[in-house]
């Protein structure tokens, strides 16, 4: 029983971190109609930035977010300006190729700068744990959960309580109509892409503190993130959160109760069944976007 409780608790805590990473991906798709395959490697960039600040400048990994989040925001803006803005037609399909190419370039650069050796973020509180319910809950998972709550709450306010958020939601619904009512759709897209990548910095810090990583780790990350946004409904922030928690909790429970070998099998079988009856995912819209 303790094992199941532990699996549920850790599933929720790690799921929140995946929600952070996946929300950037789904936000970008919702506004730009772009599937950012580079999101996984950008999470790793965030992790490496945190690693660099901690190892060479002795800046705490949480405090380092004050640097890494703005840095990745600017990187995201740069990527959008250089590549995404040029895609004028078949945005979904072509964006997959373009962002995959961007991911490969970034992976090569990371391997060149940091080598393929595994590294992990360190801090005095990473190995410390809180005794609860008969097991020990690592503090870093709690901090990651709190970080996700704070960031996702801020994101919610940005999207639903600000003028920029109004423009963002309008662009998600109908880009042409949004432009007609005076919304600078191009600016909204650029800033949104920057936000999506900035969220990867936060997720990357927590990921790097809980897992050893190198550039190749991004492949497993992006496959999980894509599953999450499909399950949650592409373009839905609420869906990304729900799907992240569901995926991690279900997988962790099956891992400990049954077998790790079957965890992915069961999860993907459930995903297929869900998509058969609800192809838009949990919170996606059934009808397609208007353009």
């Amino acid at each position: 029983m303790t094992l199941i409780i532990e699996a549920v608790v850790l599933g929720i805590l790690t799921g929140s971190v995946y929600a952070l990473m996946a929300s950037g991906l789904t936000l970008v798709f919702g506004v730009l109609d772009i599937i950012n395959i580079a999101q996984g490697i950008l999470v790793i960039v965030g992790a490496y930035l945190s690693y660099t600040l901690e190892k060479y400048f002795h800046i705490d990994i949480i405090l380092g977010l004050l640097v890494t989040i703005p840095a990745l925001f600017l990187l995201g803006i740069g990527i959008e300006w250089a590549f995404m803005r040029r895609i004028k037609r078949d945005r979904v399909m072509i964006s997959i190729l373009v962002t995959f190419a961007v991911a490969l370039v970034i992976e090569g650069l990371l391997n060149f700068i940091f080598t393929p050796n595994y590294v992990q973020l360190t801090a005095p509180y990473i190995d410390a744990a809180l005794p609860v319910f008969g097991f020990y809950l690592p503090y870093i998972y709690l901090f990651g959960f709190l970080l996700s709550v704070v960031v996702l709450t801020l994101l919610y306010f940005l999207v639903y309580r600000t003028k920029f958020g109004f423009g963002l939601r309008a662009s998600m619904q109908d880009r042409t109509a949004a432009a007609l009512i005076g919304i600078d759709v191009e600016r909204v897209q650029t800033v949104t892409f920057g936000i999506g990548v900035a969220l990867a910095a936060a997720g990357g810090m927590v990921f790097g503190a809980t897992n050893p990583f190198n550039a190749a780790t991004s492949y497993d990350l992006i496959s999980r993130l894509l599953v999450i946004i499909v399950l949650g409904g592409m373009g839905s922030l609420r869906g990304a959160l729900f799907a992240s928690l569901a995926m991690l909790v279900i997988s962790d429970i099956i891992d400990v109760v049954w077998s790790p070998v079957w965890a992915n099998v069961i999860f993907f079988a459930l995903l297929i069944v869900l998509l058969l009856f609800r192809p838009q995912g949990f919170f996606g819209r059934l009808e397609g976007r208007k353009q």
């Binding site: 303790t2 094992l3 532990e6 699996a7 850790l10 790690t14 992976e107 090569g108 391997n111 080598t115 393929p116 050796n117 595994y118 590294v119 992990q120 360190t122 990473i126 190995d127 410390a128 744990a129 097991f135 020990y136 690592p138 809980t210 897992n211 050893p212 990583f213 190198n214 550039a215 190749a216 780790t217 492949y219 497993d220 990350l221 999980r224 991690l248 997988s251 962790d252 891992d255 400990v256 077998s259 790790p260 070998v261 965890a263 992915n264």
Partner: protein
């Protein structure tokens, strides 16, 4: 219409002749690849091809593998080369996948026309390389394809210079069973990736330990593509086993150690098939060598102080070329260098780089390497390799078993986490 039909026939007759000529030329080219030693000029370098995991899942091992090959090539060239000819490496990225390896070796053999081939990192990729090499009659000497499955392919051209994977944990099992009954652990937990290199190691160890009376309380496998190992570590902790045997590479060995430390779980002994032997890639993320204290790792036959062929010079040359210290030398580098040593001796003995003769020589003779003596069985396994048992003690990874190679007694039971 009749005229155009005649033209049509003439065109196709001519095309057919051209196609036949091209096919004949291609066949000659392939035979040229297979023969390879007769027409290459004596002054041109000997081209040796290999694929390297510069990216993908094995990229952390690709770099030390490349270093091993490059160091060997530098060494042999300084000594005058092979058969008086300089050695030149042709290294191609394989992205850590069998498909990437297949493409790489097809390019190396059919496009680059390398004279000789040596192996990539890992078991699945070694098999893929050996199959391509086999089709063109090339020998493939490799250092890291040691899984049981590698030697069951029916290929006569694959030669593994390292200890067979199945036997890696045998020394550990023997050590545990040699303990007095009162000290011997009662229960064991096994957790491994579903990998052809790791799985057989744990299966063999489990068989020996179960026969010796150590009860299995957990035996789990998880997919290779896993990135979150927390649930599996949880199950090991929950089992409360006295003994923990992990079939891991570097990232999961780190994850387990960190999880055990966080959960205050202190088994009497922990051994990981791989990971603790990767120097600061292991000790860095877990929090230093103090945390590694007491963790066992098997060794396929090399350590800094071992008295084997060329070991002292190898270490000097490694530090001169790459810096650092002997503690930074990865087992992957040693394996790749050993491949080069076997290749050097075999080619020198037959005084030829003809692959057919090389294969015959490799099957019939014995060789000396950093990892000790090498003699190949018919299926390519190294029949003379010995499994050593290493343990982190006082900040150093040292051999502790068998006793004739030990620098210290094994530390048992393991101390509690710092």
């Amino acid at each position: 219409m009749v005229r155009s039909t005649a033209t049509f026939r003439k065109f196709f007759s001519l095309s057919g002749i051209i196609v036949l000529l091209l096919a004949a030329l291609a066949a000659c080219s392939t035979q040229q690849n297979n023969a390879n030693s007769n027409t290459t000029t004596q002054s041109s370098p000997i081209l040796i091809g290999a694929s390297i995991a510069n990216s993908g899942d094995f990229s952390a091992d690709g770099k030390p593998t490349r270093e091993g090959y490059e160091l060997w090539a530098d060494t042999i060239n300084k000594q005058g080369g092979l058969l008086g000819r300089q050695v030149k490496l042709d290294l191609v990225n394989d992205n850590s996948t069998p498909a990437g390896v297949t493409t790489a070796y097809q390019k190396l053999i059919n496009v680059d026309h390398v004279d000789l081939t040596v192996g990539p990192f890992a078991d699945l990729t070694a098999v893929a390389a050996a199959r391509v090499a086999h089709r063109s009659g090339y020998a493939l000497i490799e250092g890291s394809g040691t899984a049981v499955a590698v030697f069951q392919q029916g290929l006569d051209n694959i030669f593994s210079v390292s200890l067979s994977a199945k036997n890696y944990l045998v020394s550990f099992a023997e050590y545990i069973l040699s303990l007095p009954a009162a000290q011997r652990p009662k229960t064991a937990a096994y957790s491994t990736q579903q990998d052809p290199f790791l799985g057989p190691q744990l299966d063999e160890a489990r068989s020996l330990l179960e026969n010796g009376g150590v009860k299995t309380v957990l035996n789990q496998q998880y997919p290779v593509e896993t990135s979150d190992y927390t649930p599996y570590a949880q199950k090991v902790v929950a089992s409360g086993a006295d003994l923990v045997l992990l079939g891991t590479f570097t990232p999961d060995s780190v994850a387990y150690v960190k999880a055990f430390k966080q959960q205050h779980y202190n088994p009497k002994a922990i051994i990981a098939a791989s990971g603790p032997d990767q120097g600061d890639q292991f000790t860095g993320p877990i929090g230093g060598t103090k945390v590694a204290e007491g963790i066992f790792v098997p060794n396929g036959g090399w350590y800094a102080d071992i008295n084997t062929f060329g070991n002292t010079q190898f270490q000097k040359d490694y530090i001169a070329k790459y810096g650092g210290s002997t503690a930074d030398i990865s087992s992957d580098t040693v394996q790749a260098y050993s491949v080069g040593q076997v290749l050097t001796q075999a080619v020198t003995k037959i005084h030829s780089i003809d692959n057919a003769k090389l294969i015959q020589e490799l099957h019939s003779d014995s060789f000396d390497t950093l990892q000790g003596p090498v003699k190949f069985a018919a299926d390519g396994q190294n029949t003379t390799a010995v499994a050593f048992l290493f343990q982190w003690q006082n900040g150093n990874l040292i051999p502790v078993y068998p006793q004739n190679n030990a620098q210290a007694n094994p530390e048992y039971p393991k101390r509690t986490w710092p």
